[in-house]
Amino acid sequence: MKILILALLAFLACAPARADEFSDAVRALNADNFADKIAAVETLAGLGDGRAATILEAMSDGNLLATKDGAILIQRASGFTDALTQAPASGEGAEPITVNNRLRGALRGAVGRLGLFSPDAELRKRAAESVLTSPTPESAGMMRRALANETVPEVRTLLALALANLDLADEDPARRRAAVAALRDSSDPLSRGRLQAMLENETDSEVRAAAEKAVSEINFRLSLVSIGANIFQGLSLGSVMLLAAIGLAVTFGVMGVINMAHGEMIMLGAYTAFVVQELFRAFLPPGLIGWYLPVAVPVAFVVTFLVGVALERSVIRFLYGRPLETMLATWGISLMLQQLVRSIFGASNREVANPDWMTGGVDLIGGFTLTYNRVVIIIFCMAVLGALAALLRWSSFGLHMRAVTQNRPMASAMGIPTGRIDAATFGLGSGIAGMAGVALSQIGNVSPNLGQGYIVDSFMVVVFGGVGSLWGTLVGALSLGLVNKILEPYAGAMLGKILVLVVIILFIQKRPRGLFALKGRSVES
């Protein structure tokens, strides 16, 4: 009983003391110099009192005032309240407490740390993240208190990590060892940096060994992540190249037509996406705007399909068997299409927005983000390739197309309308380029020169993969994309690209017909 009373007394003695400390610190916010003010802010932040956050926020906004008799007031739109008692007060004669940039920085940090005690779990998580990136030794005690009260596991992990980061500098080797053990499972480059810094002047051999092991483990995980990131970026680039090249694989690979206007078909597709987006904005309720993209894909296919058919019937069909002339004529077409689009839409870039469901991404460990638009493009690209392969393999149009490619007079003798098949094939290749354009409008600028950037790459992909082989195009595009991205960190984007071009030029010397060369008699003709 006696003990209980003593304890109660101790508690009672303690509580007012704490309350006083709090009010002293609040009053000290109006100190004469900034150093004292900052000290007061740090004290308040260290106390972990829920009321402090509001006061400090008001101070950093310039809404904290002091009266002549030393009362601290918070100014709100509704009036003045006493900072300590929260009672309404009159603001007569009160002067705002001056704040400078250094103090503002201290206030921001303090408010952030105080968030650890907020009732809102989301706020606590954000506060824990902020202390994790920049833990200060003064906040250690507060973090321990917050950790003791924390119930949400996610925030607990963050706090424990932050504490471990601090404990690395602790005097007690056991604590240091525990901290190292806690950091071992992290994949944060910051923690690795702190571990490495600690290794510089660690004396305890046991802690040293543990820390070295932890660093190498983190290194291993981080390198795995960076390999993963490289592969993803390579796949993403590869899928973009593949999308640009699939259409070419049809017109060049199957028909043998060198279509230099292929890039302009991509450009037309991208502009179709732009027009569809503008139509949605103008005529449909804003809620439907996210749907413009799925609508733009078939529209772009139809538009570029028709343009392709028109080109084939008006120009290209007169040039079969004269590939060099076809090349020059289609180059002429590409110049005209570029100028046409420039005259209609202007030379500047047009903005095609990502729909909401394509923006953002998943944050993975190690600061690597999987963006949704890239993921969607990879999936879209595979879907297009699959659909095209199925069309060629199983539809009667595909059958006719292959027949015409293999033996035109025989196909004609069997009653296949070869002219119509030619037009449709060229239209198909152009239509696929148009769909590629819709996809590319999501990750790059839409300008009249859009197609020019892809044309050399697309030809490289088709030639590298092997003319006439969809499979080759797939492998060619993905491997070029991967090689490009893997070279990039070592050689830089431009040099990487140059190296890839040189490698392809050399590769073609060795295998003039690409990776997956068609075999058989028809190839030679």
Partner: protein, 373 residues
């Protein structure tokens, strides 16, 4: 000047005397009439040829030399190179480097040893590949040898593995594209994006002076004439016959015991050196060389000059270069939006309607006259 009788017979023998009269007249106009009209009448009189026209014609003359080079390899050997702009630009860079070095201490930073852009990039000494470019003879030699060497290596790799037709076109295009990307890089040491410019003089003659411009123009005309004779000499030789045979039926030539690889390699390398020479003359006249000269579009345009004039005829190539570039100068001034439409239409019209170009059209008309008469 005395030519060996058989050689002169070969060079000048033709069933069409009118061609030689025409060429003589053209040489007279370019070498005598235009310079005279530039120098003698007072500026402003109706007969006076202004200085800018002289420079413009000088540019066209370089393009015409380039077109001749293209015609040699495409028109006579059947190799459509879409990378000839690269050889032209390399020759231009070689001359640009010489003129860059001769700026000396007169640059913005006043560094006698380093060109301005290197000072700007904080480079301390001249890269090794800039050594020697302070000597004119070295730069002139490099303007020929660098494109020649590149063409030799590239052609040797390509022709040896029998890359023909469109495949060759595509990889030559990739070559010039890769060079363009490379020259865009500041670290390459060729001025990056801006290229080489702000030249002051060449061999001590200030570039801004009209007399220097006239001299460069005359030199270009002379070089075009010599290139014409050289190419004509090649195509009328036995080697030239094999070249045309390779163009028309490569495998048959191979079965007859000739090596198409060597023939094509010779034509390609010679053509690249001619293109480099044209570039070296071009740069002092326009005063700048930058990586956009490497762009694939430029190289394709060269092909269209030749196609418009008539490939497989030397006069046609020269004519095409003048016609297309004249139209370009006029239209980009008069109606800039129309120029690309017209150029595009020209590509299509020539390939569809005039496979032999303007000269072919003229030939058709003449044959019709003969038939009707």
């Amino acid at each position: 000047m005395t030519l060996h009788p058989s050689l002169s017979a070969r060079l000048f023998a033709t069933d069409d005397r009118r061609l030689w009269w025409g060429l003589g007249a053209a040489a007279l106009v370019l070498l005598v009439v235009i310079p005279a009209l530039n120098l003698l009448p007072t500026p402003g009189s109706a007969l006076h040829v202004p200085n800018y026209v002289v420079t413009l014609l000088g540019k066209y003359l370089c393009y015409a030399t380039l077109a001749l080079a293209m015609d040699l390899v495409w028109g006579y050997c059947g190799v459509l190179s879409l990378g000839h702009g690269a050889f032209f630009a390399l020759g231009g860079y070689a001359m640009g480097m010489f003129m860059m070095r001769s700026i000396g201490a007169r640059g913005v930073y006043g560094n006698a040893e380093l060109p301005d852009f290197m000072v700007f990039l904080n480079w301390k000494e001249l890269p090794w590949y800039w050594m020697g470019f302070d000597q004119f003879w070295f730069a002139a030699l490099m303007a020929l040898l660098v494109p020649g060497a590149l063409a030799f290596v590239f052609g040797w790799l390509a022709f040896r593995s029998r890359i023909t037709g469109v495949y060759l076109s595509i990889i030559t295009q990739a070559m010039t594209y890769a060079l363009m990307l490379a020259f865009f890089r500041n670290e390459m040491g060729f001025g990056g994006n801006n290229g080489l410019t702000d030249f002051k003089d060449i061999l001590g003659f200030p570039l801004a002076q009209p007399s220097t411009k006239l001299a460069l123009y005359l030199l270009s005309a002379l070089v075009l004439g010599l290139a014409f004779l050289l190419v004509r000499f090649v195509i009328t030789s036995k080697l030239g016959r094999i070249m045309m045979a390779v163009r028309d039926a490569e495998s048959r030539v191979r079965f007859l015991g000739y090596s198409p690889t060597h023939v094509k390699l010779f034509a390609f390398t010679l053509s690249a050196m001619l293109a480099g020479l044209a570039g070296a003359l071009y740069v002092p006249q326009v005063g700048i060389i930058n990586p956009s000269e490497f762009s694939p579009a430029n190289s394709i345009e060269i092909a269209i000059w030749v196609a418009v004039g008539g490939r497989g005829t030397l006069v046609g190539a020269v004519l095409g270069a003048f016609a297309v570039n004249g139209a370009k100068t006029w239209l980009t001034g008069a109606a800039p939006e129309l120029w690309l439409f017209l150029l595009g239409a020209l590509f299509i019209a020539v390939t569809l309607g005039l496979p032999k170009g303007l000269l072919g059209l003229w030939g058709q008309i003449r044959r019709k006259e003969v038939r009707d008469a």
